[in-house]
Symmetry: C2
Subunit: 392 residues, 2 copies
Amino acid sequence: MSITFAAGFTAGAVACGVKSDVPERLDVAVVASDRPCTVAALYTTNRVVAAPLVVTRRHLAGARPRGIVVNSGNANACTGEQGERDAEAMATAAANAIGARPEELIVASTGVIGVPLPAERIARGLMGLRLSREGASDAARAIMTTDTRPKTSSREVALSGGTVRIGGMAKGAGMIHPNLATMLAFVTTDAAIEESLLRGYTSEAAETSFNAVSVDGDTSTNDMLVVLANGASGTRVSGPDGTEFLHALTEVCVELAVAIVADGEGATKLVQVTVSGARSRDDARSAARTIVASSLVKAAIHGADPNWGRILAAAGRSGAEVNDRLASVRIAGHCAFERGRPMPLDAAAVRHALEQRFVEIELELGLGADGATAWGCDLSAEYVRINAEYTT
Amino acid sequence: MSITFAAGFTAGAVACGVKSDVPERLDVAVVASDRPCTVAALYTTNRVVAAPLVVTRRHLAGARPRGIVVNSGNANACTGEQGERDAEAMATAAANAIGARPEELIVASTGVIGVPLPAERIARGLMGLRLSREGASDAARAIMTTDTRPKTSSREVALSGGTVRIGGMAKGAGMIHPNLATMLAFVTTDAAIEESLLRGYTSEAAETSFNAVSVDGDTSTNDMLVVLANGASGTRVSGPDGTEFLHALTEVCVELAVAIVADGEGATKLVQVTVSGARSRDDARSAARTIVASSLVKAAIHGADPNWGRILAAAGRSGAEVNDRLASVRIAGHCAFERGRPMPLDAAAVRHALEQRFVEIELELGLGADGATAWGCDLSAEYVRINAEYTT
């Protein structure tokens, strides 16, 4: 039940015909809490910010949220002042549907840039909204764009004061890159938690999950990660419980983030890059993220080619300290390069390992004790086809 | 005659069987000057630096260069101490062939990473080297890897003291990205010029040429731009002549850089992005280079899709100041977005314009008076095919 796994949350979705050519498709999702929530929100780092983010920021500055409304099929970005009016209208319609005030709504959009949002069609569609705990799966489907499957995750955590639940849903699938580039992710919990603490945990969880994945290096104008905590469990997160809660929140975020890259546009493989032996954690992260985002590395993996030279070259341009004479590279469990020396590879065995759906790359830098992991996907001709034909 | 267009330079190439499966292919090029040169050299920013660059730096620290030796088919990168010995051996063989000392040679390599350089085969091949002014075209062909055609350029400049000539050759074709990512470019001139001045001009010329092009965002371990000035024209560059010389040097570099992206791996189109109205020149450069390097923009252009939203989104994540309500976008001469408003497009006409070999994108930011241009190519399924199959 993902987004409604935590107590006090319901969800639902309607088909509003945001894209008029697929009027029967579920394209607007709503999540509601039975009481006001504490909230942590992270937004795109893109300077071009979509209208729903502007509106959400304004709302969160003045009210505690009661719900989320999200449409797919239209990003409501680069739509000027009309775009903000449309995002407000969408919030108002959702607020009416769940019995809240408009400023208690978080608004998100994903889809094509620069096309006016059909706010009236959305308002009309929302009149038929039904919320339930079971509505979570419809909601997870309604936020999809080129995603081929819904992405959800949930965890239950036993804290000293009782049990709390965390659930989430997310959508990809192109324009995914570190720093919340291009994804929408919503997480709910029934824990009671101070807003400042929730914000800190959310930033930390995002750093090792959504900020550690890349599909294509492009950052969208609409990215948003929102975590809502409504306290419905009656259990408060504080003191030593914090670590447990952060751990579970991170697991949910990693599961959603990895699901996004595994379903990247045209992706046939999930790639996990682990860097160890770095001089610092920042170095490890830079190296891991640069490798996972390299077009040449991604194309090599697509072709089941154990091209460790491209892996080292990507690490070398990441800004991290790299000395190729101290570095070692393992590809899908096979040692390809050992402290500066190319190693003989069993070509058939490596090729077979690289033809699997999950490919692991390990780079040991031999310079220190810090490490990091990043996830991405291969680069296929299908990615090009999808993105050459998206708007028209 | 490109690399031998300037007086006092000769060139030649031999087939050494660097890649043993194509023994008849010209794969080692040599350029020689009849006298020692002043030199400016720019190297890859990658932390993983190939052996020939290490050797070249050492040579240039102690001697004025008399020649250049370059092989294709093998990058001599990640090859440890043996790699440096092999690069030295290559320099020695070329020095013997042109009657110079080894430390007077600049050494460059391009090709596969991590495979020992067959230095003996190269030395044997170089025994058959013949140098001539006509050898320039063989030399330009010998440095190609996945390039489909040689890349050359030349200019004659009238200065107050007489005429000087500038000529160059370069190779691409994958791993091309700003900051001398992945290319080899060699430029010769018969001007007499102070080394400090030559260095300044070379940096400036590189900034608007080689640093303004991108094929795939990957930076190689072997990039090098070398400019040699031998003074054979007897004409000295100084004072007001400097601007003329810089202008011609920049033209040669831009012509080579644009030829590289036009021949990018799998490229079917040359894309020119011009940003104007930026708050600063750095902003203009960042925006232009980010747009030209965006996988989503490149895929859209490949599909002849006037997706101005991706163009604005790329500018928005470039770090440059961008306000989408003040920005305007023209695609192949068609106004798609005007000061914050999407404009109606004649779909058939735009599609036809985008199906041409040369595509121009113009972004006016409406914030200031600075501008910059960058060049790139589209992203095709063929790029993926080439890079999925390169080593094996």
